[in-house]
Amino acid sequence: MNIALAGLICAILAVASKKLSLPPVPAYILAGLILGETGFGVLKGDEVSNSIAEAGVIMLLFYIGLNLNPGEISEKKKTIFHSGLYDFVINFTLIYGISILAGFTHVQAFLIASALYISSSAIVLQSLIENRKLMFRESEVVIWIMVFEDIAIALLIVLNNPESSDLLLFMVKILAFTALTYWLSNHMPRLLGILFTRDDEIPVLLAFTAALLGIAFEEFFRIPAGFTAIMLGLMLSGIKNIREIVLPFKDVFLVLFFFFFGISVNLSSEGFVDGLILAAAAVAGKVISGMITGRYLFRSWLSGLEIGLDTVARGEFSIFLIFAFGTGKEVSAVTTAVIITSVLGAFLAKNSAKIRNMVSEFAERRFSSTQ
């Protein structure tokens, strides 16, 4: 697989999607689908493209960890919990239930629910910035929901891990690793900070290695790479420079991941139909959970509608979970649902003000006519 060619295709798509103010993620996946097994079969994945794809998701999760500052999170834990609770409970159970009804097994349904519960932080936060919504109180709640979901991912990776031969040992390893990284997070900036302020190649080399260390941990200690990457990021979150160094690597590798993922997926028609149903449930779930959250926090259904419409888009995390743990037709279903909800979500977030006005007018008319 020619990496330069993949990069070029993605660069062109990125320019085009920015012009059309659409999220680029579904474009990368679609291009991969069209050129790969599902479509014309011109391109095939190989070992190199698989490694790059793996590096892409590991860097994404490491980056998420870097942005989860334990100190700041624990300061806001109440706000984050109250914002993210309904989002988790409603969306997870709804998607789980629909998946069971659609004939998936419990394990598959759990994976699909994990994947499609989580919104795309990248699309959601970008659209808050681009649509100039940062002044609103609803936007703050949306941001807290994203933080809640970032934390939930770590848990969902562990719960979806198929390595269950010795569950007790596995849980002990996870807990020991979590405790160790949490404890080290208080000392890392002091111990390693100096290494990352040098002006030679050492900071870049170290940051790059740290970002990929999760993969090595999986091989040696049999704990999921994604989880390790988040925790390592969290451990190093006190060192500001790492974020800046890792960002460009993450951007490049993640884009290639979406494209290579698209190439490797063999989209089945059966999975596609399931995907359509799941996409509908995914959109409805977020709108409902948003409205309930808004009602709960601000006593306003309309505020809640805004929260819901802003969080519809699914993306990188859904694809990551299904890439890491999916095997059968659930891959097709989730991929389809992600492509639909990401585009639709960007559209809904952009037009949320209009939709809110329409809904409130409609509600008023209904209300006055029944009087």
């Binding site: 942005n67 999170i73 932080s121 100039r132 940062l134 703050e140 941001i143 933080v147």
Partner: protein, 160 residues
């Protein structure tokens, strides 16, 4: 009253409400751009602008009420933690008449009370220049001092 809040993955937000009930929000994005929202009390939707770092600095100078000219400009710095403290810094370009002289020789501090805190020479910045630094024509100097000290500095040293 300013409210300050960190927004994970987005940036930092400052919110303030004026006495008349108008609202302003300023968000420093992670990509170093700055979004400013203003909302009139009677208006249900805010207006917004997005600025680069330089534009934002310009705006802060304008809001600080200081003259903006290329040759002579000044910047006022306020500290959130020390509300009563305002520092004004002024810039001047060294003219031919000061070329070749040192800070010591001019006895700037003794004669005027003002202090030179930085010199910018051909794109390089010298912070806290030593007293034996020799001025060159075209140097841009940053001077700190209260109103009277600055007036004396302009009159006695710069000859304006």
């Amino acid at each position: 009253m300013v409210r300050f809040i960190g927004l994970e993955g987005v940036g930092t937000k400052y919110e303030l409400e004026t006495k008349s009930g108008d609202r302003i929000a300023i968000i420093f994005l992670l990509n170093r751009r700055i979004q400013i929202y203003i909302q009139e009390r009677s208006c249900d939707r805010p207006c917004s602008v997005e600025l680069t770092e330089t534009e934002a600095k310009r705006l802060s100078s304008v809001l600080g009420g200081v003259p903006i000219e290329k040759e002579r400009e000044s910047v006022e710095v306020d500290f959130m933690g020390v509300p009563d403290l305002t520092l004004a810094m002024h810039t001047y370009t060294i003219t031919k008449r000061l070329h070749g002289k040192t800070i010591e020789e001019l006895a700037i501090r003794k004669r005027t009370g003002a202090n030179i805190v930085a010199v910018s020479r051909r794109g390089k910045t010298i912070i806290s220049p030593p007293p034996h630094l020799i001025f060159e024509e075209g140097d841009i100097i940053v001077v700190i001092g209260d109103k009277e000290q600055i007036e004396r500095f302009e009159k006695e040293i710069m000859g304006i």
